[in-house]
């Protein structure tokens, strides 16, 4: 029993953090809101590709790093903390291990509707505006890999403009269908959920840090507002939700990596708790910032809106609690 990350995992995480601090800065995230379709800056993405982060879950024999979920959960956390405006969940957690050698080394951007297609016909595809490939659930129940050129993409306005979502019209064809076993698809979905949960952990940490920094310097009534008990307690509540959801996410990574019998339950618990913690943190962060946080000129909203989106994508907390309930025979 040792619930710590290996030195290698940690140094991988440190490398990713350093790269994203530089290339997925608030200014870079902000730029993604306004870029024309296909014209986003890819330097953060390319740095991740160069570090092997996108291929990390692809077996070594197929050209990847051959790591498992334990080793990459921190990478997703960092992507969340940086507000990375790219589909790292869809690409690194879902598509790359499914596609194996077809993906490895490509550094391609893969968008997918797996996290948003709750009901057929209502779905939209986050990140589709800049994707190299679209991984889509077909009406035939199979997964399809579609080139953007073969589909009709129409940008759609979402609350988080950097999610760059589109409505996508496309025709499934025998050649677009992926030949992967159902079990692999199921596992890919679980990985998507886990990765989204990890991003939420990172987003929550970022929002809390920004807010701590703000309230420690902002003065009203002749005192730092961070010295007021009400502000302290809002932020303590956020810290509390994070302190106990973070290990749940890390544990779910272990459960998936070791194919635990409880893996589905653990992944759902992770996503439910991480979603709630991120939403609680977002509320506390906004309230403690006050009006300054309520403008798009300040950076908080970049992370808050991503948290809102990811809390509901890949199944919201209620959906995942339902799955936990089933596992508990309730």
């Amino acid at each position: 029993m040792d619930f710590r990350f290996s030195e290698i995992d940690q140094s991988f995480r440190d490398g990713v953090r350093a790269a994203l601090d530089e290339r997925s800065s608030p200014a870079a995230v902000r730029a993604a809101w306004d870029a024309a379709p296909g014209a986003t800056d890819r330097s953060a993405w390319e740095a991740l590709a160069a570090m092997g982060a996108l291929d990390a879950l692809v077996p070594e024999a197929e050209g990847g790093l051959g790591l498992d979920e334990r080793s990459v959960v921190l990478v997703f956390q960092e992507a969340g903390r940086a507000g990375l405006p790219d589909p790292i969940v869809e690409t690194a957690a879902v598509a790359a291990p499914l596609l194996g050698s077809r993906y490895a080394g490509s550094g391609a951007v893969v968008a997918s509707d797996l996290g948003t297609s709750a009901a057929p016909g209502t779905s939209f595809v986050p990140w589709a505006a800049d994707a190299d490939h679209l991984l889509l659930g077909g009406p035939d129940g199979r997964l399809h890999l579609v080139a953007p050129g073969e589909a009709r993409l129409e940008p759609v306005a979402t609350v988080d403009g950097s999610r760059r979502a589109c409505r996508v019209e496309w025709e499934p064809s025998p050649s677009s269908a992926l030949d992967v076993p159902a079990l692999a698809v199921a596992r890919a979905r679980e990985r998507g959920v886990l990765a989204a949960a990890a991003l939420l952990v990172g987003l929550a940490e970022r929002m809390l840090e920004m807010t701590v920094g703000y309230v420690a310097q902002r003065e009203q009534f002749g005192a730092k507002i961070g010295s007021f008990q009400a502000v302290k307690h809002h932020l303590a509540d956020a810290a509390l939700a994070q302190e106990f959801s973070r290990p749940a996410v890390h544990r779910a990574a272990w459960s998936l990596a070791t194919a635990s019998a409880d893996a589905e339950r653990d992944v759902s618990m992770a996503k439910a708790m991480a979603s709630d913690a991120a939403l609680v943190t977002a509320r506390a962060a906004l309230q403690c910032h006050g009006a300054i946080g309520y403008t798009t000129e300040y950076d908080l909203h970049l992370y808050m809106k991503r948290a809102w989106a990811l809390a509901r994508a890949w199944g919201d907390a209620a959906a995942h609690r339902r799955r936990v309930a089933r596992s508990l025979e309730m």
Binding site: A118, T122, T158, R163, Q287, G290, A291, T295, T296, R321
Partner: protein, 389 residues
Amino acid sequence: MDLTWSDEEEAFRAEARGWLEENLARWREGCGGSPASGDTAEGFAQQRIWEEMLFDARWAVVSWPEEYGGRAASLWEWLIFEEEYYRAGAPQRITQNGIFLLAPTVFEVGTQEQRDRILPRMAAAQDLWCQGWSEPGSGSDLASLRSTARPVEGGWMLDGQKTWTTRGAFCTHLFGLFRSDPEQERHRGLTYLLVPLDLDGITVRGFSRLDGDTGFAEVFFDGVFLPDSGPLGATVLGEVGRGWNVAMATTSSERGLTLRSPGRFMATAERLLELWRAVDGATRAPHLRDRVVDAWMRAEAYRVQTLAVVSETLAGNPPGAATSLVKLWWSELDVELHDLALQLLATEAELEGPWSKGWQFSLSGPIYAGTNEIQRNITAERVLGLPRS
């Protein structure tokens, strides 16, 4: 105790409902079917037209005297009008900072000349007023404000900066607090001024609210000469140096009845019930039913509590500090109503739309007009009598 409406009140309601139904449809048509947000230049212009329609039919300011464009309606009728207004799905009023925040103060402390000149133009949306209170360093702690008004020959010299001025980029006038006596501190030595935004030296820069609309503005005053008197009469409202007290009358309206009447939240609650039925909540979201019912009850309870408050007010017992409870109630209810809607929409909540927009707007409720932390302090200290810290 009698909770029935009189025949006259029912007739008033029917008239309002009929007019709103017909004219809202007409106005929407004129806007090409879907009016833009009132916090954008386009939407603001559309809503000026709407305000003119309201004014022409004497629905703009129902509770005001007829001479200023009103109907001398009772508080009860005002409540009824508000219910009908939001029930009809009419837009939030671009004139609200004028008619609900400035106007009560003008009625209370203004001169006859100020009333006669300011109010009819405000009611007709000829002048559009924004509030100049907050500054970059003075949000909750308004009394720390630093914008100055230096008395000069024939008027005032204004310097400083206001910010988070709602719809400031589209308004024509600003009412605000300025430090007129640099020797005095905090609540003392402030003066309440009425400032046309087209004066030399004023720069207005609009900026975006959370939802991306240009709902805020910074207003910079750089050696602005404000004459003692202008087309609207004296530019000082109330007494020089007593601006804090004058402003507090406004603050108390803002927290109280007039700014956020129950009708608005009842309408949102009803729309939430419609959404519940539309998405088949009973089947798809049984875990939310209790909370949806509770939110509806909270909106209804606000309506009922308002009946009690108005009854007491008419009997000579206005609510006083208890308005802090009202502000807590509606602001937190509004967040809950929208949160529930987004949960019902699930993944679709991410798409821009009335509920996601309303959600973002609702999040400002616990912040503006005195944060809810401050309102809880006020409740504890002034309603319950707990010691100040």
